[in-house]
């Protein structure tokens, strides 16, 4: 299997606490990996290290075989902006921008033109069922709609990997499932891999693979083979 993203022997400590204590992971294109585990187990730290937000104290993360630990902060920022997409809990949209502007933001920040960025944003908003809401601001959207905008923002620049940190944490079960369906379908269309951190078993069950983290180590790997 050709890994888009791979991690070998990841170690991350906070003082005496071992948030990650030797984690190996391989993620291929189109893969959907759910990271589960109790609070404080290290799952969000794993997401941060995999996405280059945090530097590992030991081990390495590879994107298409290239070690991202060798990149400086600017390089890792560029990587996050171009190769990765992010969906956060509550969307974390920019309150002042409209839905289409929020979705277009990563492309604009990558230096794409206004027309191209907004065009891609509108396309993804439409695919995610948000036609007619492009000019609304986050405060004028429901929680589920705001998360769809966040998905559009994560997908608009065609990332290789989408990282989702508790993306349904602020939604009810039904809306959470709808959002998950939208995310998985959109990722399937683009061939992007998804790494999703969740403590919601129903959401984890939608992933192709599940890894359970306990005390900074992978306690269990489950290949469900089910998706969408």
């Amino acid at each position: 299997m050709n890994s888009v993203l791979a991690a070998r022997g990841l170690v991350k400590t906070y003082g005496e606490v071992h948030a990650l204590a030797g984690v190996d992971i391989d993620i291929s294109a189109g893969d959907v990996l759910a990271v589960v585990g109790p609070s404080g187990s290290g799952k969000t730290t794993l997401l941060h290290v995999l996405s280059g937000i945090l530097r590992a104290d030991g081990g390495e993360v590879f994107l298409d075989g290239r070690a991202i630990g060798e990149l400086n902060e600017t390089g890792r920022s560029e990587l996050r902006r171009t190769a990765f997409g992010f969906v956060f809990q509550s969307g974390m949209l920019v309150a002042e921008l409209t839905a289409e502007e929020n979705a277009a933001l990563p492309m604009l920040l990558a230096g794409r033109s206004r027309e191209e960025s907004l065009g891609a944003a509108r396309l993804w908003l439409g695919r995610l069922g948000l036609q007619g809401l492009e000019k609304r601001r986050p405060g004028e959207l429901s929680g589920g709609q705001a998360q769809r905008v966040a998905i559009a923002r994560a997908l608009a620049h065609k990332p290789r990997v989408i990282f989702a940190d508790e993306p349904t944490g602020a939604l009810d079960t039904r809306t959470g499932q709808e959002m998950m369906t939208a995310l998985l379908q959109a990722a399937e269309e683009t061939g992007a891999a998804i790494v999703i951190v969740t403590h919601d078993k129903a959401i984890a069950d939608r992933a192709l693979r599940v890894v359970e983290i306990q005390d900074g180590r992978i306690a269990q790997k489950i290949d469900s083979g089910v998706s969408a």
């Binding site: 969000t44 992010f86 974390m92 933001l105 920040l109 206004r114």
Partner: protein, 728 residues
């Protein structure tokens, strides 16, 4: 209250906000105390020097006093030639050890030192007599002031007075009330940025607090509980800041005392405000801050869900500017037609109203600027800034308010300064700069001729008229042209007797106007008129051959000097013609230059304070807006947004409204400055109103200050971690 204290104990951002509130209040309190004490300083000087006001005490009095200003080495010397008119005690003011009898002299300590270190013929001989004491600080305007009280048997040209003891002094009378007006104007325009700074500090992290309190309201907290929580959170910083501000005001007043004004520095005690005023400011400042914080939360208190609502501003706010300018110009008209304690009240109210109106209308212009850029953005930073400006113009403008007021103040000051220069009293170039002229001379000038080898020009002043009551006449001097031209500007002579005037004199009756017995004479029916266009007080010069009957009468003496003999001539004039009024270029220059230097220094200090306050306010507000959006910024950084792009957006957020609103502020400043110039011209009685291109310079300075302020919150932005999106 316990929740509020717990929040302060645990939340680092709330702690930072509290520290910033304390700093803002501290700066504002110490500045307000300083501003309030500034008129006190002028009043303290006026009180100490009230004994010098010997005018208008009537024809009867125990003593005669001639007040003159002299100069030495570029420093003004105040001299009081006194003589007893009747026996008995003469009351003297505090700081004057005794009334000096004939041949007794009292000198200020600085003048006594100067006399001791200077050859007598250059300085000491100007004060003939035995030094019987030194003047105390209670009788001096400022430390180092050069003052002499010289006792004589008799004083010519003196005013009669009951003693060397004035009543209640008032600096309001100085420079025709212009300084009184200017200190009040300074007070108003600097208090507004102080209030803006305090408001910015009080509103710091307001968005976050709003969300927290809205959540508490939704969880069942009563409006009163929310208000108490807000009050406690804010009060801790505000009270600490107020106490520190009062403590800081003391050393601050000592620094202020070192700033020269009107020829010298100050005594430290001059800038100490009354305890009641200190107490009032110390209490009012925290109350205002707490009130501002509570007022800011009234939406959440009333409607908890309002925390996430959009906030717009109404365009009618623009009318406030017109209304405030209307009040201001009404005040100008009122002040021109009124005298007394309330003369400037409406002007100052109008001025404060204009400054406040600028603060209130700023958000409208900010929203317009935001909408403009939202429609035309090309870069994400412009989009982010434009949306922020149009989405929450009140919050976006808050940081710029202080800078806008500074620009308003700067444009106003730069509009006024050139005009004030033309209005400064004592700008008179009647006489040549190197000439020293003694006016009101009644003495025999022979001792003077003996005391100095310099040429002596004798003149008689008077008026030429038709002789009718209604004809006020033309002010002339009688003197030989070749001699007079050595001391009078713009006079060029030709051989033969003539009248030098702009045109033929109206009338032929000459009447002297000096202090001696009036002399009258008639000009001949025929005489030659030669051109003379003096721009001073003297309109015409008449050759004495045309008025032979006044030959030998003298009321003015002029002496052309060289740099080498100037002090000696001065000393000879003062020594041989005691009590006369000396007019010389150096003295005139000293008066005018001192006042202009004072005004320029005060302007620079005032504008610097306004700019620093504005900059601090902008930096505090920008930092607050970053703290409020920490999670959003954290998410953007996590998603790969370079911090420089966010920094760029932040700078645009701060600078775009500043640029737009400062143009309006500059216009308002020019309008108000012109209005104040009109008023000052009315007070002084003359003056021009030149407008230079420099009046728009504050706009550029304001934008730079805003840029520096935006750059200053760079560390706050860089302190945001990509992981902050998950905070709270």
């Amino acid at each position: 209250m316990r929740i509020a204290l717990a929040v302060l104990r645990r939340d680092r951002r709330s702690q930072v906000a509290t520290v910033l509130v304390a700093l803002g209040v501290m700066i504002a309190v110490s500045l307000v105390l300083w501003l309030i004490a500034a008129p006190n300083g002028l009043q303290a000087r006026a009180d100490r020097t009230a004994w010098r006001d010997v005018h208008g005490q009537g024809d009867k009095g125990a003593i005669s006093v001639a007040v003159n200003w002299d100069s030495f080495d570029g420093k003004l010397i105040g001299r009081f030639d006194v003589a007893r008119n009747e026996p008995g005690d003469v009351p003297v003011a505090s700081g004057i050890a005794k009334f000096p009898e004939a041949n007794e002299v009292l000198l200020s300590p600085a003048l006594a030192d100067l006399v001791r270190g200077t050859p007598a013929e250059k300085l000491g001989n100007r004060f003939p007599g035995r030094l019987v004491g030194e003047l105390g600080p209670e009788a001096l305007k400022f430390p180092g002031e050069l003052i002499a009280i010289i006792g004589h048997d008799k004083v010519e040209n003196g005013f009669r007075a009951a003693g060397l003891q004035g009543g209640a002094g008032s600096y309001r009378d100085d420079y025709h009330g212009m300084l009184y007006l200017l200190t009040r104007v300074g007070l108003v325009v600097l208090v507004v940025p102080c209030l803006v700074l305090v408001a910015s500090a009080a509103r710091l992290t307001a968005a976050k607090r709003e969300r927290r309190l809205a959540a508490l309201r939704l969880a069942g907290a009563s409006p009163r509980q929310v208000v108490v929580m807000t009050a406690v959170e804010t009060a801790i910083g505000a009270i600490a800041g107020s106490v520190l501000g009062v403590l800081l005001a003391q050393p601050f007043s000592h620094v202020t005392a070192e700033i020269p004004w009107d020829g010298g520095t100050w005594y430290p005690g001059d800038f100490v405000p009354e305890p009641a005023v200190v107490a009032a400011v110390a209490v009012l400042a925290p109350v205002l801050v707490i009130a501002a914080a509570i007022m800011g939360l009234r939406r959440v208190v009333n409607r908890p869900l309002a925390a996430e609502e959009k906030r717009g501003v109404r365009s009618w706010r623009l009318l406030l500017i017109a209304g405030a300018l209307g009040v201001f110009f009404l005040g100008i008209v009122y002040a021109q037609q009124t005298r007394g304690g309330n003369q400037f009240t409406v002007v100052l109210l109008g001025l404060g109203a204009v400054a406040l109106a600028l603060v209130l209308t700023g958000p409208v212009l900010t929203a317009w600027v935001g909408r403009f850029f939202v429609g035309r953005w090309r870069r994400p930073s412009t989009l982010l800034a434009g949306r922020r400006l149009s989405g929450d113009p009140v919050a976006a403008f808050r940081g710029s308010a202080g800078v806008v007021i500074a620009v308003f103040t700067g444009s106003m000051a730069l509009t006024m300064l050139p005009g004030l220069e033309s209005q400064v009293p004592y700008r008179d170039d009647t006489w040549k700069t190197d000439a020293i002229v003694a006016e009101q001379v009644t003495h025999d000038v022979t001792p003077l001729r003996l005391a100095t080898s310099a040429p002596i020009v004798t003149m008689l002043e008077g008026k030429v008229s038709t002789g009718e009551e209604s004809d006020h006449g033309t002010y002339v001097i009688v003197g030989k042209c070749a001699d007079v031209a050595r001391v009078l500007n713009r006079l060029s002579c030709q051989p033969g007797p003539a009248v030098y005037a702009p045109s033929k004199l109206n009338g032929d009756v000459f009447r002297s106007s000096g202090p001696h017995d009036v002399v009258t004479a008639n000009l001949p029916a025929q005489y030659e008129t030669r051109p003379f266009n003096g721009n001073g007080r003297i309109t015409a010069v008449v050759d004495p051959e045309l008025l032979p009957s006044v030959e030998g009468h003298v009321s003015m003496v002029g002496v052309p000097t060289t740099p080498e003999n100037r002090d000696a001539v001065h000393t000879a004039l003062v020594g041989t013609l005691p009590g006369v009024q000396l007019v010389d270029g150096e003295l005139r220059g000293l008066y005018g230059d001192t006042l202009m230097a004072d005004l320029e220094r005060a302007t620079v200090i005032g504008l610097s304070i306004a700019a620093v306050l504005g900059g601090i306010g902008a930096a505090v507000a920008a930092a607050g807006s970053v703290i409020d959006r920490r999670r959003t910024f954290g998410a953007l950084i996590a998603a790969g947004t370079p911090i420089r792009v966010l920094g760029h957006a932040l700078r645009r957020e701060v600078m775009l409204p500043v640029f737009a609103v400062t143009i309006a502020a500059c216009g308002a400043g020019i309008a108000v400055g012109l209005g104040l110039l009109v008023l000052a011209r009315g007070l002084v009685g003359h003056g021009e109103m030149p407008l230079t291109p420099w009046v728009v310079a504050p706009v550029g300075v304001g934008v730079v200050v805003a840029l520096v302020a935006a750059l200053a919150c760079g560390p706050v932005l860089r302190g945001i971690s990509p992981r902050d999106y998950a905070a709270e």
